[in-house]
Subunit: 450 residues, 2 copies
C-alpha cells in the first residue's frame, strides 16, 4: 500500500485558494555565472544530469489523488515523470532583466499540474554576460516561499568541487512547515471563537495610543486591494546591505526600517504617477521572526507586524522615522498578546483571500492591509551549483485576492535581493517599483549626506 | 453599449470541453528563414512591430464575460493588452526539432486566459540554421484548426516587399465557421431525435457489405482511447508531395490513400513496440471536403469518413489497397446519407468527449474511432512574413477525452507538413511516430521499386 501523509489545516486551506486567477504556488529565482569556458551544451548537459537524479526527497514525491484530497500519496521514484518536471528554457536576445522578468511572469502565472507532484524546475539559459538562471516553483501546500529558497540553498554547495545536486535528491535539512504553520488561516468551523478572539484583537488595537501605532483594519482603500486575474508581473532588484546599514547607523533605525523606508518612497511615487495615492498612509504587513516564550520555552516565532508606511509624508527621512516608530509599537503590541491572539492577527492577512476564494463575494470595502513586505536574512557565504557560482537568490511569492502586490526580499552575501510580484491587470508597469527603490535609496543617502 | 456576438451551438459546446485536462484550443506552428544579414535584435523588433498593430479584426477582439457566457463582447483596441497576447520566446541551444517540440508541447498544454480574448502569438527565436518560428494559438470556439492556419496564411504575403502584418490587424478573408459548423456535436436538448437519427446511421452501417467497409463503433479498444490529462507531446514531420504522388500513380490510389498507408505503418510499429497493437484494424476518422448537393445547390461540405487503417496486415502495399478500398466505400456510404445523418456521423467523433467532459463517467468501453487523421491542401506558392520566407506551416490540433492522439497535415508548396499531438501520460515518445512515418515511406518505395 502506498504511503500517505495527511494534509494540515493550512495546507488544505492553501489548496482551496488555488484557482486559475490565484494559483497558490511560490517560487525562487536564482542566477548563476557559467563556469569559465563553458561549452554551448553546458545547460543541456546540466538539465540531463538533474533529470537522472531520482526523486527521493519529500515533498517532491508527494501527489494528491484529486484537488480536494486530504492526504498526500508518496510516489516511488519510477512513477515520477522527471522529464516533465525539469524544463529547459531560454531567453531571447539580449537576455537582460526585461526578458528574464517577462519569462518569469509567464512561468509564475501558470498553474501547476494537479495530476503530478506540485513542483517544476526551469533551467533558463541565455542571460546576458555569461549567466543562467533557475526557477523552482512549488505549491504553497508543499512548502512556503521561505522553504522553497531553503530547499534550493540546501541543494547548493559551499564549494565548487561538488557535482550539481538536484533539490529532490538531497538529504532533507529544511523545515518546510515551521514558518507557514505560524501564519494560519482563520479556522472556519469555529467561527464563533474566531469572532470572539477577533474582538479581543480589535479592542487591543482601539485602546492603543494613536501615536504611530497601526493595526489591521486601518489601511486606506488602494489599488492593491482589488480582484485579481491570473496574469502576473515580476520584477527584481538588488540592494547593497552596507548602504542600508549606513543609513540605519546614522539615523538609529534598523536595517529593516531603512529597507521599508525606501520601499515606501517607491510605492508612493508609483501610486502618485498612476494617480492612486491614498490620503492616509499605506499599511504593510511585515512578517517578522521574534524571540518569544513558547510552550516549550524560548523559541523563534513568526508574527505579522502591521506597520504604517507613512506614505502621507513627503520627506523620506521623516517618513523613515515614522515607519520605525510604527514597527517598534507593532512589536510592542505583539509582545503583549497571547498565542491565540497572535495566531489570529497573523491569519488576518489571508482573511480577504479566504472569503473571496472559498466563500465568494466582492472585494472587501475595508482592506485589512495594503501590501505584504517581507525581508528575510539568508546565507552570507557564496553558494555553488556544480561549478557555477550563485549570484543572487530572489523570492517569487504568491499573491491572493484583494492583495495584488507582494514584495519579498532575501539576503544573500552582501546584498538584499527583492522579488516583486503583482497582478498584471491591476498594476501596470510594476518594474518601475524596482527602479524607484534604488532611486529612493540614492535620495535618502543624499539627504543624509552619505 | 458594447457590441455582442451570440455563440453558436458548436461554440458553446467547445467551451464546455474546456478543462485543465482538455484545453480546447488549436494552433498553427510556422517556421521562417531569417532574412540574410538579420541583426540579433531582428525578432525583438518584429515582436515590437506586431505589438504596435491594434487589434481590429474579429475574432481577435472577442471576449467572454465569463466561461459559461453565450455571447462574445467585441472589445475596442485600447481595451486589449497586446503585450500580453504577443510573446517573445526562445529555444535553448542547439535549437533543433527536439527543443522546438518540447517548447510547443508546453505552450500547447497551457490553457488560454479566459479573462481576455482567447488567443496568443508566440514568436520564437533560436531555431538552428538561421530560422525562427511563430506559434498562433486560438480557442476552438473562436476558430477551428483549419481557420487558424487560414488566418495565419492570409496575414502572410506572396512577396517579400511588404512589411510584416499582424493577423489581428488584417482585412478579414477567412471563413472561420464553415468547416467547423459542419462537424457539430450531438445536440443535447433533442436527445430523442438524436437517438432516432443515430439508429438510422447504425442501421445503414449494419446493412453495408462487410468487404472493407467500416463505420463508427467497430474500432477496437486501443491505448488511444483513454482518459487524458493536460500535458501534451508534439512532433512534426515533412513529406515530399511528389513521393506520395509517385506511389499513388503506380498503385492507382490517391495521394491521401498513400498518406494514410504510411501513417498506418507508423502507428502499427509504434503500437507493436509498446505491445499495444490491437488484433482488429485501427479505425481512423478522416475529415474530408466533398462536393455535394446542398440546399443552395452544389457546394463544398466537410464530412468525416471512417476508414480502416488495416493495421492487422503486415504488408504495406496490401495494407494501402485495403485502406484505399475502405476510403472509397466510406465516401460511397456518405453519398447515400441525408444532411441530418451526415451531421450526426460527423458529430460522433466528439461524442465520447461530450460525455466525459460535460456529462461525466469513465472512458467508453467501445471506442467510436481510434484516431483522427486529417490532411488538408494548402498554398502552393511561397509566403512571406515581411522579408522572412515561410518554410513550413504545421497544424497543432486539439485532443479530447478518449481520443489521445490527433494527426493533422497541411500542404504547403511541395510538401505535406504533419503535426502530431498526443496526451503525454497516455502516449510515450510520440516523436517516434514522426520518424517512423518517413521510414514507412521509404519502405513502401522500396517495395514498389520507386
Amino acid at each position: 500500500m502506498a504511503d500517505t501523509i495527511p494534509l494540515g489545516r493550512t495546507d488544505r486551506f492553501l489548496l482551496k485558494l488555488e484557482s486559475a486567477d490565484t494559483p497558490a504556488h511560490t517560487a525562487s529565482l536564482s542566477t548563476f555565472k557559467l563556469p569559465a569556458g563553458a561549452h554551448p551544451g553546458f545547460i543541456r548537459d546540466l538539465v540531463q544530469e538533474l533529470s537522472e537524479q531520482a526523486v527521493t526527497a519529500p515533498p517532491f514525491n508527494y501527489v494528491l489523488a484529486q484537488k480536494g484530497d486530504t492526504a498526500w500519496t508518496v510516489l516511488p521514484p519510477e512513477d515520477i515523470d522527471l522529464d516533465y518536471h525539469v524544463r529547459h528554457s531560454a531567453l531571447p536576445w539580449p537576455g537582460g532583466e526585461r526578458e528574464l522578468g517577462s519569462l518569469i511572469s509567464r512561468l509564475h502565472a501558470r498553474p501547476l499540474d494537479f495530476n503530478r507532484p506540485l513542483w517544476e524546475l526551469n533551467v533558463i539559459e541565455g542571460l546576458e554576460n555569461g549567466r543562467f538562471a533557475t526557477y523552482l516553483k512549488m505549491h504553497h501546500a508543499l512548502a512556503d516561499g521561505a522553504a522553497v529558497i531553503g530547499i534550493l540553498t540546501d541543494s547548493l554547495s559551499t564549494n565548487s568541487d561538488e557535482p550539481p545536486k538536484a533539490p529532490w535528491a538531497r538529504s532533507f535539512a529544511t523545515t518546510l512547515r515551521e514558518e507557514r504553520e505560524s501564519i494560519q488561516p482563520p479556522e472556519q468551523p469555529a467561527a464563533q471563537s474566531l469572532l470572539q478572539a477577533l474582538g479581543k484583537v480589535a479592542t487591543s488595537v482601539r485602546t492603543r495610543p494613536a501615536s504611530g501605532f497601526v493595526g489591521p483594519f486601518v489601511a486606506p482603500k488602494s489599488v492593491f486591494n482589488t480582484k485579481i486575474t491570473g496574469a502576473r508581473r515580476y520584477a527584481t532588484q538588488q540592494i547593497e546591505l552596507q548602504r542600508l546599514k549606513a543609513i540605519g547607523a546614522r539615523e538609529k533605525v534598523s536595517v529593516n526600517d531603512a529597507f521599508l523606508a525606501i520601499l515606501s518612497s517607491a510605492l508612493r511615487r508609483y501610486l502618485q504617477e498612476i494617480d492612486e495615492l491614498p490620503d492616509r498612509p499605506l499599511v504593510a504587513a511585515v512578517p517578522a521572526a521574534t524571540l518569544r516564550e513558547t510552550q516549550d520555552g524560548l523559541g523563534n516565532s513568526v508574527t505579522v507586524i502591521y506597520a504604517s508606511l507613512a506614505t502621507n509624508l513627503e520627506d523620506p527621512v521623516e517618513r523613515m522615522h515614522v515607519i520605525s516608530e510604527s514597527m517598534r509599537q507593532g512589536k510592542q503590541f505583539i509582545s503583549e498578546l497571547n498565542q491565540q491572539q497572535i495566531a489570529i492577527l497573523n491569519g488576518l492577512v489571508l482573511l480577504p483571500a479566504a472569503f473571496l476564494n472559498t466563500i465568494g463575494g466582492g472585494t472587501p470595502s475595508r482592506p485589512i492591509v495594503n501590501v505584504t513586505i517581507s525581508n528575510v536574512q539568508g546565507p552570507r557565504h557564496t553558494l555553488w551549483f556544480g561549478q557555477a557560482e550563485c549570484e543572487a537568490l530572489y523570492p517569487c511569492s504568491m499573491i491572493v485576492q484583494a492583495q495584488a502586490l507582494n514584495i519579498t526580499a532575501r539576503g544573500y552575501r552582501d546584498h538584499i535581493n527583492l522579488g516583486i510580484v503583482g497582478a498584471r491587470d491591476s498594476l501596470p508597469s510594476i518594474q518601475r517599483l524596482a527602479v524607484y527603490t534604488l532611486e529612493a535609496l540614492e535620495e535618502i543617502e543624499q539627504r543624509l549626506g552619505l
